[in-house]
């Protein structure tokens, strides 16, 4: 079982009701913009708290109102690649990459710093400040930072948006490799039908 989500969440006028179970390695969450896809990711990562429901990933319960369970974000093991990347502006690229790496329990690490740097082709960026990176570079560093925190699962929020075709293709190949070689559950939020059809084993629609 990779993702098991059943939540009721209300933010102001907007209500989110979503329930799905996915056994697939890569699950896509689609739906019109403004419907609350990012909010669902925030609920899974522990950054937003649904009024009611249960969230389990890879067989481990993270949130369950019935049981009074609500793990803190730092204990959920989410590798969250935010749509706006959120690199730390006061740390150089290398320090950004090492931020989560240093905090990860050593027994849970499944990929090394050198491997991630090579995998993402970001070796030449390590000494740079985040403000000096292009959109594609920023995205790759954000993915690297998430991978190095030894996540138990990945949450990717529109990772290919606003990239040129070549960069998007390279990143998609990368996500395919993560999906096939690293075998950790991935939840992908996307607008693009083509991306979803290509990558996802299961598509969940949020209305």
């Amino acid at each position: 079982m990779s993702f098991e989500v059943s939540i009721q969440h209300r933010v102001g006028e907007r209500a989110i009701n979503l329930a799905f179970v996915s056994e697939e390695r890569l699950t896509a969450l689609v739906g019109p913009s403004g419907v609350g896809k990012t909010t669902v990711l925030n609920c899974i990562a522990g950054l937003a708290r649904p009024q009611r429901g249960r969230i389990a990933v890879a067989g481990e319960a993270l949130f369950d109102t019935g049981l009074g369970l609500d793990l803190a974000p730092e204990r959920r093991g989410a590798g969250y690649v935010f749509q706006d990347a959120r690199l730390f502006p006061h740390l150089r690229v290398d320090a950004n990459l090492r931020y989560g790496e240093r905090l990860a329990p050593s027994g849970r690490r499944w990929i090394g710093h050198a491997d991630v740097v090579e995998f993402l082709g970001i070796g030449h960026l390590l000494g740079r400040w985040p403000a000096t990176l292009s959109g594609g570079e920023t995205r790759r560093v954000a993915i690297g930072r998430a991978l190095l925190s030894a996540p138990r699962f990945l949450l990717l929020d529109e990772p290919f948006a606003s990239l040129d075709a070549e960069r998007a293709e390279a990143l998609m190949t990368l996500v395919e490799r993560i999906r096939d070689e690293l075998a950790i559950p991935i939840l992908l939020v996307s607008h693009d039908r083509g991306e979803v059809d290509r990558l996802a084993g299961r598509v969940v629609t949020l209305r």
Partner: protein, 228 residues
Amino acid sequence: MPDEWSVVALSLRVSLLAVALTLPLAYALAWLLARRRFPGAILLDALVHLPLVVPPVVTGWLLLVLFGRTGPIGAWLEAQFGIVLVFRWTGAALAAAVMALPLMVRAMRLSIEAVDRRLVEAARTLGARPWRAFATITLPLSLPGIAAGAMLGFARSLGEFGATITFASNIAGETRTLPLAIYSGLQLPGAEAQVARLSVISIVLSIGALVISELLVRRAGGRRAHVL
């Protein structure tokens, strides 16, 4: 000249102690007011700003009531630790600290509010507990505000007059800081030159503190925006 220098040395000592005392408290208050919603927040905000709006003499009188040798805090401090503040340079530092607090809290609060909460959230998902996320994200990113607040507080402390003369009195060599020495000089015939010298020193020190604070803020802000 030696007279002037001892006044300057005393003023610097008083202001440095005042800022050192206030810095952690001001930052904690700024963080609370910027990041937490709690009952009494408005009241706390008003209390912090009180010295800014109340006449300094009244603040000095309140300090006298609270920290005087018979006041509740003053009596306790003397009984427990043998600390007496009234008519001492440490009392002048306390008066300066209370007067500097609102300015320091304001500067720091603005810089904490300017730190994007979403960066703190990102740190949490990467495995940082709240305290670590604070120490590695919020604190360093609000550093320019801390520096600016400290310098502003320092400049304010250098200029403190009303609360100081009320609470700590005007004792040469003990509590006679720059503004008090200037005031005393004005009472004496023939001290015009001394008053002028002290005033120039005051202006130079205050402008220096402001320029340093401005430079610190620019440097911290510029480092990230520039290439390499």
